[in-house]
């Protein structure tokens, strides 16, 4: 773990790849919760907006050694803090401060109305976690009725990405405040993807809270992160007992 720990909060996630069935309920829940736009023809996957993309992995071997797995990939909310780049690779490069890591929570947020759409952050991210709005969003009648009111829609020409449902954090904080509390309890703030997973493959919480489930799982010997050698320090941990999956997580000479 890195980054500014003074707030004592660093939200992160652990995804158990061995449990993931590839049902994509998480991806759909995310799309619905965050008003992610879509088009009638989504065949061009390089123009689709999928804040939570599910990677398909296989070990490249024929039957009977063939194995496959599914790896959900939200934004990694990178915690990188090494000199001289103490910021995530994407926030560091934004010319207008439209994306920024909140050091109180560790979440990398974005301001759609400030984004100029230069796509430098998209180029900088090697996880492909960022998406550009190539078209204006259009929800067919009456789907606009089901838009989440807490999440602003994004127009054409701006970048967007997974926010870890930060609007749910805000809602949870507001509810806690009304009850006279400043601290959130475990489970009060949960992103839509984690809530929707039928296999309970996703765990979310404060990685710095040693009592939390997510912190314990992140320390498991089966835990790994994507592209660790790049020093991005992602806050999304994966679990797998399968060596071949762990080998696919990073480049090795």
């Amino acid at each position: 773990m890195s980054g500014n720990k003074s707030s004592g909060v660093r939200y992160g996630m652990v995804i158990d790849v061995d449990k993931c069935t590839g049902c994509m309920a998480c991806s759909v829940a995310c799309q619905q919760e965050n008003n992610v736009s879509f088009r009638e023809d989504e065949t061009n996957k390089l123009r689709s907006i999928t804040w939570l993309e599910v990677f398909y992995l296989d070990n490249g071997k024929p039957y009977p050694e063939h194995r496959k797995a599914y790896m959900p990939r939200p934004c990694q909310h990178c915690d990188s803090s090494h000199h001289p780049y103490p910021y995530p690779p994407c926030t560091f490069v934004c010319p207008v401060n439209a994306t920024h890591r909140d050091e109180e929570t560790g979440l990398v947020n974005h301001i759609p109305v400030r984004c100029i759409g230069c796509r430098y952050c998209i180029s900088a991210c090697s996880y492909h976690a960022r998406y550009f709005n190539w078209w204006d969003p259009k929800w067919p009648e009456p789907m606009e009725e089901m838009l989440t009111p807490d999440v602003s829609t994004r127009m054409r020409g701006v970048v967007e990405k997974c926010t870890m449902c930060i609007h749910r954090l805000q809602r949870a904080k507001n509810l806690a405040f009304m009850e006279g509390r400043r601290e959130l309890e475990e489970g009060e703030y949960v992103p839509a993807c984690v809530e929707s997973c039928p296999a309970k493959a996703m765990t979310f919480g404060n990685l710095l809270d040693s009592h939390s489930e997510v912190a314990k799982l992140a320390k498991s010997p089966q835990a790994f992160r994507l592209l660790e050698k790049l020093k991005t320090k992602p806050k999304i941990y994966y679990l797998s007992s399968q060596d071949w999956i762990r080998k696919l997580a990073d480049n090795v000479l």
């Binding site: 061009n44 100029i116 998406y131 550009f132 190539w134 592209l227 480049n251």
Partner: protein
């Protein structure tokens, strides 16, 4: 018909022929404007860009154009700050070429960003850590400097010069041109460098990332060096082209020879450090990120690009330009300059396209980028815009101070 606007004592082609030429250029510009209009109206979905290729032809063209436009500031530096008087023959041309390059690049940038109306946000919400903020600031300021350097030339038009206020204004600007040349050198150094820094700081992209000095990755310095090595080469090429089309000698050979010598030395200097950087990146930086050197060259973006950039378009023109006899041969000089400029274009291409094409996650595949006509058209349109400005400047402005001396009219 327009003879009153043509500088005194020089010949130009007939107005009818000039208008025909303008029609051709305007046709190409029109095609470019149509492409640009489609992008602004329909959105960037009409281009070949996608979520793998956030940067594409527009950015490659921008970087190449700006690098090649470095001839303006460097020739200005040599002329006014170092005091190389023979370059006064060619400095006006260098300034016009620079002006074309920078304004043209900004026209393309207008199309490149998803929200052109918000382009000014970088001035209001600057990110001090971002190289792109620095680029936006310096390119804007340097375009202002280039405009100020271009204005005296425009005001020297035969008819405009008759207005006393314009005459005194342009004369006074000439007197303090060294201030603008020095300012331009400072600004240009930083933004040429920051354009390199754009790539070198991408620590999640092994192909582009470089170690460096303090906050500046080595690509910062390499981009400055490559820009000043190729900018004067473009100035030479444009001069040769104008001389070829007009069938006249317009500048003293000593100006071209000096620029050719300087380009040769600068290209050699750049290549030494580029080879060192490539070796360090291949043996140290990339392996630490888990990548082997050969993994960076896949599919159409193969090793041939590296050989072309550093060998055919690097070492070869450097050798030609370092040999005095070869520099004095016009054909060899033009070949060397063309190769030099091509090498820089390849360099900008590989950092933009090859960088993004390469998978970083082990289970991903190489992507291929194919630009559409809405990307080609504005890019070519900008070149036509350059031809338009150059044609108008050559016809109506005293761009070449020694033209009359070298081409006496009987």
């Amino acid at each position: 018909m327009d003879s009153a606007l043509i500088p005194e004592g020089v010949k130009r082609c007939s107005f009818k022929v000039f208008c025909l030429w303008l029609l051709v250029i305007l046709g190409v510009i029109g095609w470019g404007v149509l492409g640009g209009f489609m992008v602004l109206w329909k959105g960037l979905n009409v281009t070949g860009l996608n979520d793998s290729f956030g940067f594409g032809l527009y950015i490659t063209a921008d970087l190449a154009i700006i690098a090649l436009g470095a001839g303006a500031f460097f020739t200005g530096f040599l002329t006014y700050v170092i005091g190389k008087k023979e370059l006064k023959d060619i400095i006006n041309l260098a300034v016009v070429v620079g002006f074309i390059c920078y304004t043209g690049a900004q026209i393309v940038l207008l199309l490149e960003i998803g929200q052109p109306i918000r382009g000014w946000f970088s001035f209001w919400h600057p990110n001090v850590h971002s190289m792109l903020t620095e680029v936006i600031f310096c390119i804007t300021c340097y375009t202002i400097v280039l405009t100020v350097e271009y204005i005296p030339l425009i005001l020297e038009n035969r008819q405009l010069d008759k207005v006393p206020e314009f005459h005194y204004f342009s004369h006074n600007l000439h007197e303090i041109m060294v201030v603008f040349a020095a300012t331009g050198t400072f600004l240009s150094f930083f933004h040429q460098g920051s354009l390199g820094g754009l790539y070198g700081v991408m620590f999640a992209r092994p192909f582009a990332f470089r170690a460096g000095f303090f906050i500046w990755p080595w690509t910062f310095f390499l981009f400055v060096a490559s820009a000043i090595a190729s900018g004067p080469a473009l100035t030479i090429l444009v001069c040769k082209m104008v001389q070829g089309v007009s069938r006249k000698q317009l500048v003293g050979r000593e100006a071209i020879s000096l620029l050719a010598k300087v380009t040769g030395y600068l290209l050699t200097f750049y290549l030494i450090f580029k080879f060192l950087d490539t070796w360090w990146w291949a043996t140290q930086t990339a392996p630490k990120m888990g990548m082997s050197f050969t993994e960076f060259f896949q599919g159409p973006y193969g090793m041939w690009l590296l050989v072309a950039e550093l060998g055919v378009c690097g070492v070869l023109p450097a050798i030609i330009l370092l040999i005095p006899k070869a520099r004095e041969d016009d054909v060899l000089l033009i070949v060397a300059c063309v190769l030099n400029c091509t090498g820089i274009v390849i360099n900008r291409f590989v950092f933009t396209i090859q960088n993004l094409a390469l998978p970083v996650l082990p289970f991903e595949e190489l992507q291929i980028y194919v630009p559409t006509w809405t990307e080609w058209a504005p890019t070519v349109g900008v070149l036509a815009y350059g031809a338009l400005l150059l044609s108008l400047s050559y016809r109506y402005l005293p761009m070449f101070p020694r033209e009359r001396e070298l081409n006496p009219i009987d």
